[in-house]
Amino acid sequence: MIVAAFFPLVLLLILIVLIYSISKNIGKIPILQKLKIKWALVIYGAILLLALLFSYLIPAGDSSVYPAVSETERNEAEKAGELLVKAAYDRKNIRKENIEDVEINDQSTIPFEGEQLEISVEETYGPLTVLVERKLENDQKIEYIEYHTKTIIENLDLTDEIDPLSVSIEGELLRVMNGGFKDIRIGMFDKEFTISQFTSDNGVELFDDSHHVWGEHVLFLRIPKGVEVIDKYEYVHYVKE
């Protein structure tokens, strides 16, 4: 803990000592003595200028892999997530609510002839709310719809990277789990602090937080009339009649 706290300070001191040693002894380095310093500086300057020109020629812009979104869209996704969860907790019928920016990630129908249904929510991408609507008839089918909102990390929309929930029936057990493990690594070119100081609201942040909005997921189940739901961990909310 203490080592971690003082690591930046130690690193800074090492850098200061290193730069001081370089500055003090640069003239004594044999290779640099032989090298024409003037020419080395001219060549270095030329390389920097050429790189600057080249930087405006390369195809820069948005990711070729993940769609980029604006800060406004990120805020809207966050708001949509809040509205989706609130609607689920208020036991509203999400199918009929049409909440903006809430999309269907997956939907299907599973045959079910049992009289009891135990719901087991295993590893999921995040907090999951299960909303149950009882059908008016017993058609021996369970319909499920997975509603979700966008997952946005920084300015990248990673919603499509999150696989739909895996929903399966084993006897009278409904198992809900995530679709698979994902490990994403991204490299991002960012603006220097000398720019962001004047383009962000608060200047340079000493402890810069990244901006991310994790998508909310609500599993909407339509179960046949008369089926008893067993929910040991209280994941389930019932749609108001």
Binding site: A5, F6, L9, L13, I19, I22, S23, K24, I26, G27, I37, K38, A40, L41, Y44, L48, A51, L52, F54, S55, Y56, I58, A60, G61, D62, S63, E123, T124, Y125, G126, I153, E154, L156, E161, N178, F181, K182, D183, I184, R185, I186, G187, M188, F189, D190, K191, E192, F193, T194, I195, Q197, F198, T199, S200, N202, G203, V204, L206, D208, S210
Partner: protein, 249 residues
């Protein structure tokens, strides 16, 4: 034999400045080495962000020219200290000069090195991004290229930061020349304060406030005024301090 030629202050300063540019060329070669090191250090990313939810993990490496600028700031601070040392100060007496001309030529020289340092630091950051663009694997993403007006902004701000650190280095250097024990006392105070501040209050408040004063100023004009006034103040105090030094001490 007395000289009958009247020498004007601006002429002396100009001559001393050009002399220093030629004589202190090694300052720029150390800048070159420092910036090359900074580019190597930048390849791991200036900062990283990692987060995960159940079964989903994401790591983002941010590539910027920040390390290049920060190392150039340290270089500027150290360079300013070095030119206050006795060996460098004696160079001024190659010419007919006084303390005022010596200080003025030093300030002009430090501003010149700040311009070179600040500009090359920003350009080194850009060249780093070009190189990384060529080497990054699939799945990595390219951020938006810096618009031209932001590049100019970055150059100006970078130069000003480098100049501020040069002024601070000059002040510290002069202080140490005047009172030798400051060479031990100053680092002890600064490092000790950072350690005690970090352990007691979570962060060294004074240093955080100084950081906020400059780095959280979002109006460019106010930022420039702050930097210029602080630098002038530091140079002014440095020149007053050295009045106590004997000639050629």
């Amino acid at each position: 034999m007395m000289s009958l030629t009247e020498v004007k202050l601006p002429d002396i300063v100009r001559k001393q400045f050009f002399y220093k540019v030629k004589a202190y060329l090694s300052v720029f070669s150390s800048l070159l080495v420092v910036q090359v090191i900074s580019l190597l250090l930048s390849t791991n990313g200036s900062r990283m962000m990692g987060t995960s939810h159940n079964g989903f993990s994401i790591d983002i490496n941010y590539y910027t020219g920040d390390i290049s600028i920060v190392l150039t700031l340290i270089w500027s601070f150290i360079t300013a200290i070095i030119i206050t040392t006795k060996a460098y100060r004696n160079d001024d007496f190659v010419f007919v000069s006084n303390r005022v001309s010596s200080h003025l030529s030093n300030i002009v020289f430090l501003f010149f090195t700040s311009v070179i340092g600040g500009v090359t630091a920003v350009l080194a950051g850009q060249s780093f991004k070009v190189v990384m663009h060529l080497f990054l694997k699939d799945g990595y993403v390219m951020g938006t290229a810096i618009p031209f007006h932001e590049l100019i902004l970055s150059l100006i701000v970078s130069v000003m930061y480098v100049f501020l650190l040069a002024a601070l280095g000059y002040f510290v250097g002069m202080l140490v020349q005047l009172y030798r024990w400051f060479s031990v006392l100053l680092p002890t105070i600064v490092i000790g304060y950072m350690i005690i501040g970090a352990r007691v209050g979570g962060e060294p408040i004074l240093i955080v406030e100084i950081f906020k004063f400059y780095a959280q100023e979002t109006v460019l004009l106010l930022f420039l005024i702050k930097i210029i006034l602080t630098s002038c103040l530091l140079f002014f105090i440095s020149s007053i301090l050295t009045n106590k030094l004997e000639v050629r001490q």
